[in-house]
């Protein structure tokens, strides 16, 4: 389902008229990649996929024509310093996995495993498409 969603999104991007600039099209494809990951049936129940979809929608709602979409929102979550039993590296992981900041440590590990599987599948899909259509 992840693959189908991505292919449909690619088809929409390909049909767009007028043809977008390369950088804009790259952004659209990247957006479609992450959206497909979040929409795959296995992951739609996951915290990371909801957080990712939320982030993607926020980016889409920004004023068009903005080249830099870096905008950090400070969210109130459980302070990280109150988790002394975690390995130090867990903080970096929390920043990498969408929605990771608010998760319990054991949930974080589960969500990470699921997120990595979806990421891998997406990368393999995109590579396969490139190989298939490149001469």
């Amino acid at each position: 389902m992840q693959a189908l969603h991505f292919l449909q999104a690619l088809a929409r991007i390909a049909r767009a008229a007028p043809k977008p600039a390369h950088s804009a099209r790259t952004r659209q494809i990247r957006h479609a990649a992450y959206a497909s990951m979040a929409h795959s049936s296995r992951s739609s129940r996951r915290t990371w996929s909801r957080a990712l979809l939320h982030r993607l929608r926020q980016r889409q709602q920004q004023r068009p024509g903005r080249l830099l979409t870096v905008r950090r929102r400070v969210r109130i979550v459980t302070p990280i310093t109150s988790r002394p039993e975690e390995p130090a590296r867990a903080e970096t992981l929390r920043q990498l996995v969408p929605g990771g900041r608010g998760m319990e440590y054991c949930n974080l590990l589960e969500e990470t495993a699921d997120y990595v599987q979806c990421l891998r599948a997406q990368v393999q899909l995109m590579q396969t498409l490139l190989d298939a259509f490149s001469s």
């Binding site: 043809k19 952004r27 990649a33 039993e85 590296r89 319990e104 990368v123 498409l129």
Partner: protein, 85 residues
Amino acid sequence: MSSRRGRITDEEMNELISKLQLLLPESRRRNVGRASAGKLLKETCSYIKSLHREVDDLSDRLSQLMATMDDNSPQADIIRSLLRS
């Protein structure tokens, strides 16, 4: 590495750790020692970052591929007909 008592058993935690380790590619798995949560998390973070970079790179290359569809080559026709839904 301690676990939250009563919330998840050490055995369940170890299973999660093993699962994460299995998701790493072979080359990265070798960097992680046995039952070393710290190294595993470090390697997993590094792996996720590299996957993000790959998505960026592949998006760029797919975009270039689509650019070739702007002309009237036979290849472009085939790609267009395959993606038409």
